[in-house]
């Protein structure tokens, strides 16, 4: 059941051995040490394991690692540059969009993809809520998260 796969993780090319029965979540956490990818519900409801595959957000818990062969993965570990947070990460900090933090990496990745996709569009708060509907947060009540995303869209060029 073992395979060798090639993928790019946060800009770095990797060649790793996996078991086809492993989820991408398991490989990212256990083999590559990317602990920002959280295991929440394991059934695609909570979005805590959201990563970007070829810039598209997916739940890593419901994605076989073997499917990532040849693809490019982004996790929150790769979003800051030279110690400087990404625009979305900084907006989460500025707006106080983080409380306990377990949903935050998944939210940051879903929000990053949303901001990249809607840069030139006039997305309403409702659109942002719909775009983040695959992520659950039990602390913030979502308002500060939506504001953080809105701020990113407002100043995106």
């Amino acid at each position: 059941m073992n395979r060798q796969i090639r993928l790019t993780v946060n800009g770095k090319k990797k060649e790793i051995r996996i078991d086809v029965r492993q989820s991408l979540l398991e490989v990212l956490r256990e083999q590559l040490g990317l602990l920002s990818v959280k295991q929440g519900c394991s059934v695609g409801e909570c979005g805590a394991c959201t990563v970007l595959i070829d810039d598209v957000p997916i739940d890593a818990c419901l994605y076989l690692a073997v499917w990532a062969d040849g693809k490019s993965i982004r996790t929150v570990e790769g979003e800051s540059r030279d110690g400087k947070l990404s625009r979305v990460q900084q907006a989460f900090v500025d707006e106080g969009a983080v409380q306990c933090g377990i949903c935050t990496p998944g939210f940051v990745m879903a929000a990053t993809s949303f901001v990249e996709k809607h840069k030139q569009q006039n997305a309403s708060r409702h659109d942002i809520r719909r775009g983040l509907a695959g992520n659950l947060c039990r602390c913030t009540g979502y308002d500060t998260i939506v504001t953080a995303v809105q701020k990113c869209l407002d100043d995106a060029d």
Binding site: S23, S42, G47, V66, W67
Partner: protein, 292 residues
């Protein structure tokens, strides 16, 4: 780790058919958002997987020379929602697929998987049966086509032989041209929820007369169903408020809802009656109908 016992990746439709034929216990896995959840919960029925997740051959949305729209089963819901072709000609399908899961699920889950999973709550099923969609199935003995409506046999049961694979979903031009529709999903949450009741209506009107109505419900019976009795009774009727009241009254004889933890039978019937009226009304308005 998911607990399956064998895994084979198919590089083509023909290889998938061969692999399915070699192992009678093998199941296809496409987007995986249903099967991996079941595997996570320890269901043994998916011990042997034939993987078609990235089979490009089955990922297409096209229109042929006759104007028929053909959708490959591995098209992701996000692709359906973002397709200009679908939005322009069969917007009811764009509307319906956006109610499925959340963005992460829609980026992976496939329209063919939704249909082959065979559950009565499949949100892509009611708009497609309202559009008289047909499915193409390929197997060892060649290719066959059937109406999507007859593809659903029972809960989690579809008309696929062990060695067969769904290869296309077709909506012919005559089934969507001049038709207008509306979809509504009744669920407890606005996202990430399973339908309590789903409803699709498409209609064609001319000179204030309802030329044709196709009304479909999800979770109103063991399979997604059309309300043919109601449709037959109202074809040719004048568009007026009484028509909507009659549709709401007729529809209960076409459905067989049941009680589950999600909703009681009586509540489902109430939703069905209410949606029949509201969804048909919106479809008529979309068609330019004046209800007075």
């Amino acid at each position: 780790m998911f607990n399956f016992r064998s895994y084979a990746k198919a590089g083509s439709v023909q290889e998938a058919i061969r692999l399915l034929g070699e192992n009678p216990d093998a199941h296809l896995i496409a987007g995986g958002t249903d099967i991996l959840v079941k595997l996570h919960k320890g269901k043994a029925q998916f011990d042997h997987l034939v993987d078609i997740h990235d089979l490009a051959e089955l990922n297409f949305i096209t229109q042929n020379d006759s104007g028929d729209i053909i959708i490959g089963p591995l098209v992701r819901f996000t692709q359906v929602a973002e397709s200009e072709l679908i939005y322009q000609h069969i917007p009811i399908l764009s509307q319906a697929v956006l109610t499925i899961g959340g963005p992460q699920v829609r980026n992976v889950a496939t329209i063919g998987g939704n249909l082959c999973n065979g559950v009565p709550s499949a949100d892509s099923a009611t708009p497609l049966i309202a559009l008289n969609a047909a499915v193409t199935i390929e197997g060892r003995d060649g290719s066959r086509q059937m109406p999507l409506e007859s593809f659903f046999l029972g809960p989690s049961q579809v008309a696929l032989e062990r060695h067969e694979i769904l290869t296309a979903i077709t909506i012919t031009h005559d089934n969507y041209a001049d038709y207008f529709g509306h979809f509504h999903k009744y669920a407890m949450r606005e996202a990430m929820d399973i339908s309590t009741i789903g409803c699709s209506a498409v209609c064609k009107i001319k000179d204030g007369i309802l030329q044709d109505l196709r009304l479909a419900f999800g979770v109103a019976a063991p399979i997604p169903i059309r309300c043919k009795g109601t449709e037959d009774k109202v074809r040719g009727r004048k568009i007026m408020p009484k028509l909507l009241t009659d549709i709401a009254n007729y529809v209960s004889t076409d459905v067989r809802p049941r009680t589950s933890w999600r909703a009681a039978k009586e509540f489902r019937l109430q939703i069905i009656t209410t949606l029949a009226r509201r969804v048909v009304e919106r479809a008529l308005l979309n068609a330019g109908g004046i209800i007075q």
